[in-house]
Each structure stands twice: as structure tokens, then as C-alpha cells.
């Protein structure tokens, strides 16, 4: 394979954001006719590298070589004309345009400056046929299912002239059959001499389709081996790095005798977007229930539906009382609070200071008269100082804007907000995303402390080690279905991964 010169090379690429080094001196080479898989946990730097190849971000240092010549990619246009085509993880489709229009967006099929709709449609049908898709090319993309949108995104990447195809988690929203068609396509592209960079969480696919596998961890490439030299077990070890935190290796705090505690949150027959079948579960007082599964499996949607952010059907009760999940405000008043995985746009209030951010949701039910309208600065400062110590928030002044804090400190402030809201159920989406190791430990500690105090905590995360560290019980989801429920000592990274990565034969058998 490597007798041909590489078509795309990254040499010593680093990229740092304020406070974070997303990539540290990464080398990667792609040869024509090669399928290289890129694996690693969330935050390992895969997406950053892809954005650099796409011209959307520039490396802090290091160079990109195309066909052996050094190239600087300033924007998406340059990346396209250099022969790089990308299927991005978040959909970049215009919902109001049709399938055909989206496929050829930015490189329309024209003659004398006029678009040729028939020709475009003909080509779209051809491209769709590559994936055995029977989509109507005239259909508006906004009305397609998530899986079909994903397919359109892939077809769009195919419609450009390219030597390198980069696919970022292309199968997160696809069904088993669709995955097979996609993998067949990848093989055909390889036979045509294209280079494919394939990023996926699903290890069975990775072993199925790729020639070599590059493993990323914490912004570094830790391995780059031919697939023949790797086993699934070895790959998981490389991804995880085997550097367990001391408390993570002893998940003893889990209570086996949890069953006598009263049920606090009960969800029955919940249907919401992305879920293929209604889901039911319950959580007891003081229990930490984990929701695990790859990105796009539906666990985020479950949380958001319970919290009233997404339209849903189903029955939710809290301590036996029905909860109306028409809006977050009404859910919070029944005693459920959620911290979003998107801290930046759905968590912090960037123009407000740390103190205000913490007390914004504080329950006002008990206040009277003036205190109902005018906050008491003294009382709020007392509350703030107490929580700041309890939560170990590192901040200089209460008047500091929250945007200047590190991710971990922001998350602690938001945990403080949730605590002040007087809620018996706490829903956490990716509670430690963008949080450094030290603060992570402290946040785990806080979550456990809350649970000990009787709060029911639901943790939805793609970080399996997080669930091992936290959860008393764990639901594993995949593609909109609950695949397994693990309890107590069964919760370890291998079994969670195994449940989420169950191969197709097992899926068929179950």
C-alpha cells in the first residue's frame, strides 16, 4: 500500500485553544487506495484534525501536505478544490433545500451560468444509487429522517471531485442495513484508488473496512498500525490508555442493596425523536443511573424530552406525582433539573457574573413581599460563599463574568445552580465534557455526594469510564434502542463497550 506516495499528509500538527491543547504534534499519512480508520474517545482530537483538513480551522503549528506539496487550507473552498471531501459529524445541510440542491450546494451543475435541474437530478440519482438509496431527489431535506439526512450528507461528499474522503462518524444515525451499504461503498472507493479516512466509534465497522487504524488519545496519536496487527481487545486498551484513576478502579461505592429505596423518577413509554421504540425506566432515590451509548443513539434526546425541551409522548412521574413536561420551567417546578452538554450555549449566561449565574434558578417559592422581588445581596453572597467552598470553585471575585472561568469551574457553578433549585432529580448530559482531569474528579465526587444526600442523578455520557466511576445502574443504548441494562459490578468499560458495539449477528439473535 505504501509504495505509492501519500496523497494527504499531516506533519507535526498542533492546535491549541485557550486553555486546551486539542492536538499535539500529530503525524498522519493517507495513501491512495487506503482506508484508514481513526479511533479514540471523545475529545481525543479527531474532530479537530478533520476540521483542519477541511480548512475550517488552521493548525497552531505543523503543516499539511497534498500530493507531496505543502498546502495551507484557509477555507472550505480551498479544501474542496484540493480534492478533500468531508462528511461532517454534525449535519451541514440546508433544511429548506431539496436533496439535489443540497448535494450540489457550492458546486452547482450549470451551463452558461444557469442551473440545469434535470442534469443535476440525473446525477443525484446516480450518486444515490451508489448507496442503493431510493430517496426522491426532489424531497426537502428538512422532512427526511435523521438517517436519510446522514446519507444525503455522504452523497454530497461523493458529488465533489475528490482524492481523499473523510468521514466523521458517518454511521452514528444509520441502521444496520444502511451501514452495510456504506461499508460496501467505502470498499468500492478504495478499489478506485481513493484514500478514505474513516472515523468511527463502532469497532466492528473499523475492523471490517479499514486497512490501518490510527488511535488518538488526549490529542496525540498513540498508535498507527495495520489492522492485521490489532485485536479488538488491544484496540480498546489503546483507546483507554490503561491509566485508571485510583478511585475509578474501585467502583465499590455502588450499592447492591439499592432496591429498597423508594422509586423517585418513573418514565413510562416515552417516545421522542431519534428513539425507535418507546422507552421506560425508573430511578430510585439517591441512585445514579447512567445512560450510555455512542453519539446519536438517542440518550441525549431522552434527557431533553424528560426536561421538556423536545416534544414527546409518555408518562413521567416524580414520587408518584405526574410531571408535566411542556417546558423546562414547569419541569423544574416539579423538581427536575437538567444540565446541558452544551454548556456554552445552553448552560452559562455569559453576560452575568458568577454569583448571578449560580443563583439564577434558586427557588423563590418560600420568599415573601420585598424578598420576592428584590434579592438580598448579603444572603446571596452567603449562599455563594458556602457553595463556592463546598464545590471548590476557583474564582477570584463573585463579580467575575462566568465566561472567563475554565470549563470545570463553569460546570461547578452550574451544579451549584442545580443545587439551589431544590430539585430531587438531576439530569446531567456529558457532565465533564471540556473539563480537565482534576476538576473531573471533583465533579464525580460532588455528584456522588448529591446522590448520598438523596438526589436521584441521571448521567448521560459517551465517556464509559465516567459511568464506571459513577453509576449504580446503567442503560446502554444504540441507534434508538435500549440494548442492555447493567447493574452493580457488571458495570465496567468492557461490558459497556461490548453492549454498545454488539455485532450485527448478535443484534439479529437478540
Amino acid at each position: 500500500m505504501s509504495d505509492k506516495p501519500p496523497v494527504l499528509e499531516a506533519i507535526g500538527i498542533s492546535r491549541s485553544y485557550p486553555g486546551v491543547r486539542a492536538l499535539r504534534g500529530v503525524d498522519l499519512a493517507l495513501h491512495p487506495g487506503e482506508v484508514k480508520a481513526l479511533v479514540g474517545e471523545n475529545g481525543a482530537g479527531k474532530s479537530t484534525l478533520i476540521r483542519i483538513f477541511g480548512g475550517i480551522e488552521q493548525p497552531s503549528s505543523g503543516i499539511v501536505r497534498l500530493h507531496g506539496t505543502e498546502t495551507v487550507l484557509h477555507n472550505a473552498q480551498q479544501s474542496h478544490s484540493a480534492g478533500i471531501s468531508i462528511v461532517s459529524q454534525e449535519f451541514r445541510l440546508v433544511p429548506q433545500l431539496t436533496v439535489t440542491e443540497n448535494i450540489f450546494l457550492g458546486h452547482e451543475v450549470t451551463r452558461l451560468g444557469l442551473i440545469r435541474p434535470k442534469e443535476a437530478k440525473r446525477r443525484a440519482v446516480e450518486l444515490l444509487a451508489e448507496l442503493d438509496l431510493e430517496l426522491d431527489p426532489s424531497q426537502t431535506v428538512g422532512t427526511l429522517s435523521i438517517g436519510d439526512q446522514q446519507m444525503v450528507e455522504i452523497v454530497r461528499a461523493l458529488s465533489r471531485k475528490f482524492d481523499v474522503l473523510i468521514m466523521d462518524e458517518p454511521t452514528a444515525a444509520l441502521s444496520g442495513d444502511e451501514v452495510n451499504r456504506l461499508l460496501a461503498l467505502v470498499r468500492r472507493l478504495r478499489n478506485r484508488g481513493k484514500a478514505v479516512l474513516y472515523v468511527s466509534h463502532r469497532l466492528d465497522e473499523v475492523f471490517d473496512v479499514s486497512d490501518g487504524i490510527a488511535v488518538f488519545r488526549d490529542g496525540c496519536k498513540v498508535a498507527d498500525l495495520p489492522v492485521s496487527q490489532l485485536s479488538e481487545k488491544r484496540l480498546v486498551e489503546l483507546m483507554l490508555g490503561r491509566e485508571f484513576q485510583p478511585h475509578m478502579s474501585q467502583p465499590v461505592s455502588r450499592r447492591a442493596a439499592a432496591d429498597d429505596r423508594p422509586i423517585r423518577l418513573q418514565v413510562k413509554g416515552l417516545t421522542c425523536p431519534r428513539l425507535h421504540e418507546p422507552v421506560s425506566f425508573s430511578a430510585r432515590r439517591g441512585e445514579i443511573l447512567g445512560l450510555s451509548g455512542p453519539v446519536g443513539c438517542g440518550r441525549t434526546e431522552i434527557m431533553q424530552s424528560v426536561f421538556g425541551m423536545l416534544p414527546s409522548r409518555g408518562e413521567i412521574t416524580l414520587d408518584g406525582e405526574p410531571v408535566s413536561n411542556s417546558s423546562p420551567a414547569s419541569v423544574i417546578s416539579s423538581g427536575i433539573f437538567l444540565l446541558s452538554e452544551d454548556r456554552k450555549s445552553e448552560g452559562i449566561l455569559p453576560h452575568l457574573n458568577v454569583l448571578e449565574n449560580m443563583v439564577i434558578s434558586a427557588s423563590q417559592r418560600k420568599r415573601e413581599r420585598v424578598a420576592k422581588w428584590v434579592p438580598s445581596p448579603q444572603a446571596e453572597t452567603r449562599t455563594y460563599t458556602r457553595l463556592k467552598q463546598d464545590l471548590k470553585i476557583r474564582v477570584d471575585r463573585a463579580q467575575q463574568l462566568i465566561g472567563n472561568l475554565s470549563g470545570g469551574n463553569q460546570q461547578k457553578v452550574l451544579l451549584g445552580r442545580a443545587m439551589l433549585a431544590d430539585c430531587g432529580v438531576l439530569l446531567l448530559n456529558e457532565p465533564t465534557r471540556g473539563v480537565d482531569i482534576g476538576a473531573k474528579e471533583e465533579i464525580y465526587h460532588l455528584i456522588k455526594k448529591l446522590a448520598r444526600a438523596g438526589v436521584t442523578v441521571l448521567v448521560s455520557t459517551s465517556d464509559t469510564s465516567e459511568l464506571v466511576a459513577l453509576a449504580d445502574r446503567c442503560l446502554v443504548l444504540r441507534a434508538g434502542r435500549v440494548m442492555a441494562e447493567l447493574t452493580g459490578a457488571d458495570i465496567d468499560e468492557k461490558s459497556i463497550l461490548a453492549a454498545a458495539l454488539r455485532t450485527k449477528s448478535e443484534e439479529a439473535a437478540s
Binding site: 426536561f307 452559562i348 455569559p350 452575568l352 448571578e356
Partner: protein
Amino acid sequence: MTNQLQSAVEDGPSKADVRERRSYLLSFMTGYYLQVTTAVVIVGLSVFVPDFGNRANLQNIATQASFAGLVACGMTLLITAGLFDLSVAGIIAVVGVVTAKVLPATTIGMALLLAIAVGILLGLTNGVVVTKLRIPPFISTFGMLNIYLAVAFIATGGQVIPINSYYFQQLGTATVAGVPLVFIAFFVVAAASYCLLYRTYFGRRLRAIGSSEPAARMAGIPVDRVKILAFGLTGLFTAIAAIGLSALLSSSGGTMAKDMELNAIAITVVGGTALRGGRGTLLGTFTAAIFITVIANALNLLDVSSYVQNIVTGLILIAALIVGSVRKDVVRGAG
């Protein structure tokens, strides 16, 4: 032990601290830049423009600044919450016309009460249209402007209704220790708005909504209710402006407050309130109202065509917008 560690962390001049101080300095500079400029302009004009500095003209400026300023106080609250109200000229017309119509038949007190009630009602209507019909505020209130103006015109048959009550006229012209009554009202409203925005739960919620509406929703803030209330308050402030204006003019009519929305928004933006929400400055609004009126007054004294004043207001607004957009980049670049 942990406390010691914590205090050690706190004592060190962290990078965030320096950045914080720098942005504090920046906000200080931008915050008081306008006050200094206004003072310099007033002093300069007093020296160089005859008749500018005399008592009557200064009172005139104070009075003129108050009308758009009162409206701008409401606009500041709205813009802080990421909202807009382009219908204020319509609210003033309706309130003015209602006041002028009922005044001969009732006491001044009742008329004032009614005027304020109408203002609040129209404001709340805007709020309901924006939140419940889910129409973007700038376009829905633009439509409401037409409706309110039409109502005022229809009620008056296109005529101007005179106001003959001497005591009512006094509301627009009386002074207390040389300070016009309407200016005192403006000052009180500006101060009250400041307290509201920075000292109450309501104000905090307004800022939270303007800062990030999704995050505010997630924090359990009843977003719609807060927004409707903010529109209601703007209606109230606008009604006060309408009372003062019709008292000063001794009449009311559909065109009495033409282009008021442009002036109020210009004042708010020039004052330094961020157009994208989250941060509002009443001191800035207060100063900017005076600043813009001073400029208009000076142009007037210098015999510059009144049409130029439209242009000047527009240019000041756009200049402030550009400054705001560039300043945001500076802050972002520093952060």
C-alpha cells in the same frame, strides 16, 4: 488545608484576573467615554455657539431630551433582553389622543391614570404578539406601529386635538428649581430602570434572557412572562413621555412622535447597550439622550436644515453600531 490551598489560588494574579482587569478597564473607558464627550461638547458649544448656554435653551434641551430619553429607558430594558419595540411612536400617538379626548370630560388625575393604563396595555399587547404569536419583535412591533398610528388617526379624523387645560400644560412646561418637570421624570425613570435591571430578580432575568435565551429557558426562567412584562414597562415609560409631550405641545395627534423609535434606538445604542442583548447601561442611555439632543439643538441654532438632523441621527446610530461591532471583536480577541 483546602482553604489554604484555595486562598493561595486566589492570591496569585491569575491570567484570568489580568484579563478581567483589562476588560474592566475597557468597559470603564467605553462606559465613561460618552459622559466625557458630552461634557466637552456642551462646554465647547456654550463657548462657541451664541444662545446655546443660556438658561432657556438649556431647559429646552433638558425637556427635549426627556421624551426620547423616557422611551429609550424602556428600549434599554428591551434591548438588554434581546427585544425591540418599533411601535413606540404609535403608543405615544394613541396615549396622547386618548388623553386629549378625555381631558375635557374628567379630572387631570383620571386622565393621567387612563393614559398610563392605555400605555401599559398597548405595551403588553406588543409583548403578547411577540411571545405568543412568535413573531420576531422588530417586525411585529413594526406592524403594530402602523395599527396604533391608524387607530390614532381614525380617532382624530386626522386632525390635531388641542389641549386647553392649563394645569395639564404645566406638566410639560413647569420647572422645579429651574429643572423641567419632565426631565425630573426622565431622571427618576432612568434611575428606577437601573435599579430594576441590576437590583431585582426581574432585571436579572431580563439580562439572562438577553444573554442567552436557550440557557435562560434551561434555568427555568418563565421567558414569555418576563418578556411581556418588559414590553408593558416600555409601554408605561412611553405613556409618561406621551403625557409630557402632549402637555408641552398643548395638543395631540397621530404624527406627534414621528421617528421616535429611531431616536430611542439611537440613544440606547449610542449609550452603549449591546444590541445583541445581555448588557444594558441606563447611565449611557441617560447621557446619550442628552448628547443627541445637544447635537440636534446646536445644529438648529446654527441654522442647519432640520432634514440634516435626520441624517445626523442615522449617522450617529450607524457609527455607534460599527463601534459596538468592532468593540465586541476587541473583547473577543482579548478573551
